[in-house]
C-alpha cells in the first residue's frame, strides 16, 4: 500500500509547490494560498481559481468555474461512499474524495482494502497538498517556472497508471475511450472543467458493446 500511496503524496506535494509558486506570482498572499489548499483540497479547481483571478476574473466567477471542475467528485463520492462508516468518519471522509483517492480505492480487490487505502491516501494528500503550497508560497518567485521541472506531466501519468487495471474490462474501455474523445472535442467549446463530466456520455457506448455480445 505504501508503495502506491507514498509516490502519490510526494507528487501531490510537488504539485502543491508549483501551485504555491503560481498563486504567489499571481499576487495571492501566503495565508490565502494555504486557506484555499486546506478548505477546498482540490488541486485543479484551485489552480483554475487562482489563474482566473490573476487574469482579472471576478472572484465569484472564478469560484463558480472551480465548482464545475469539482462536479466529478460527486461520482467519485458515490463509488467510495460504501467504504466509509456513517457518522463523523463519513463527514470527514467526504472531504478526502478526489481523483487519486477514488482511483486508488476502487482499484483494490476488496472493499475493506479499498477503505483502508482511501484513508491513508486521503489523509496523506490532505497533509501533502497544503504543505507543498506553503513551501511554494515561501519560494515565491525564486523558482522561475514549475513547468521546467516537468511536474505538469506527473498528475496525468499517475491517474492513468491507477486507472489502467479498470480498463481491462472491455465495456469500460470502450466507454472510457468514447468519453475521452467527447471530452477532448468539447474542451474548446465548454467552460473549463466541464469537459471531463461530459465524458460520462461515453457510458452509453459501453451499453452497445454489451448488447452486441
Amino acid at each position: 500500500m505504501a508503495r502506491d500511496v507514498l509516490p502519490i503524496c510526494v507528487t501531490v506535494a510537488l504539485i502543491g509547490v508549483s501551485y504555491g509558486v503560481t498563486a504567489t506570482a499571481a499576487g495571492f498572499p501566503a495565508w490565502q494560498v494555504v486557506a484555499l489548499a486546506v478548505t477546498v483540497l482540490g488541486a485543479s479547481s484551485e489552480l483554475l481559481f487562482v489563474g482566473l483571478v490573476a487574469v482579472g476574473a471576478a472572484p465569484l466567477v472564478a469560484a463558480a468555474a472551480g465548482l464545475l471542475v469539482n462536479v466529478r467528485n460527486s461520482a467519485y463520492g458515490m463509488a467510495v461512499g460504501p467504504l466509509l462508516r456513517s457518522g463523523p468518519q463519513r463527514l470527514f471522509g467526504a472531504h478526502l474524495v478526489n481523483d487519486e483517492t477514488a482511483a486508488l480505492a476502487t482499484a483494490q480487490p476488496t472493499p475493506s482494502a479499498g477503505g483502508r487505502v482511501f484513508w491513508v491516501c486521503g489523509v496523506g494528500i490532505a497533509i501533502a497538498w497544503p504543505l507543498g503550497a506553503i513551501v511554494g508560497a515561501q519560494l515565491g518567485q525564486v523558482v522561475p517556472d514549475p513547468r521546467t521541472w516537468g511536474l505538469d506531466a506527473v498528475f496525468p501519468a499517475v491517474i492513468a497508471a491507477l486507472v489502467l487495471p479498470a480498463l481491462c474490462d472491455r465495456p469500460t474501455l470502450v466507454a472510457a475511450l468514447t468519453g475521452g474523445l467527447v471530452a477532448l472535442l468539447a474542451v474548446p467549446h465548454v467552460p473549463h472543467g466541464l469537459a471531463p463530466v461530459l465524458a460520462l456520455g461515453g457510458l452509453a457506448a459501453a451499453r452497445l458493446v454489451r448488447a452486441s455480445r
Binding site: L60, A63, G77, G150, P156, L167, L184, L200
Partner: protein
C-alpha cells in the same frame, strides 16, 4: 482583490465542493446499490479519470507546438503498462518531460 471578496469566493468554492463530495458519498452509502448499478458507478469513475488524464495532458489543444507533456505522460503510461511501480511511473514522466524541455 479585497480580503472580503476573497473570503466570500473561497467560502463558496469550499462549501460547494464539499456539498458535491458529500452528496455523492451519502447517496452512495445510503442506497444499497444493485450489482448492476455498482458496476455502472465504477465504470463512471474510470470514464471520468480517463477524461481527466486526456484533458489534463492536452489542455492546450492538440495543435500546440509543445508536445513535451504529452510525450512525458505517454512515457509514464508505458512504464505503468510494463507494471513498473508508481514511483517509477512518476520519475519517468517527470524526467522525460523535463529533459525534452531542457533540450
Amino acid at each position: 482583490m479585497s480580503v472580503a471578496s476573497f473570503a466570500v469566493a473561497v467560502a463558496v468554492l469550499a462549501s460547494g465542493t464539499y456539498a458535491l463530495r458529500w452528496g455523492g458519498v451519502s447517496a452512495g452509502a445510503r442506497v444499497s446499490l444493485t450489482d448492476e448499478a455498482a458496476l455502472l458507478v465504477e465504470r463512471a469513475v474510470a470514464v471520468l479519470l480517463v477524461a481527466v488524464v486526456l484533458t489534463g495532458t492536452l489542455d492546450e489543444g492538440v495543435e500546440t507546438s509543445d508536445h513535451t507533456r504529452a510525450v512525458g505522460v505517454v512515457a509514464g503510461v508505458v512504464a505503468a503498462l510494463a507494471r513498473a511501480p508508481l514511483v517509477v511511473v512518476v520519475l519517468v514522466a517527470v524526467l522525460v518531460t523535463a529533459l525534452l524541455r531542457a533540450w
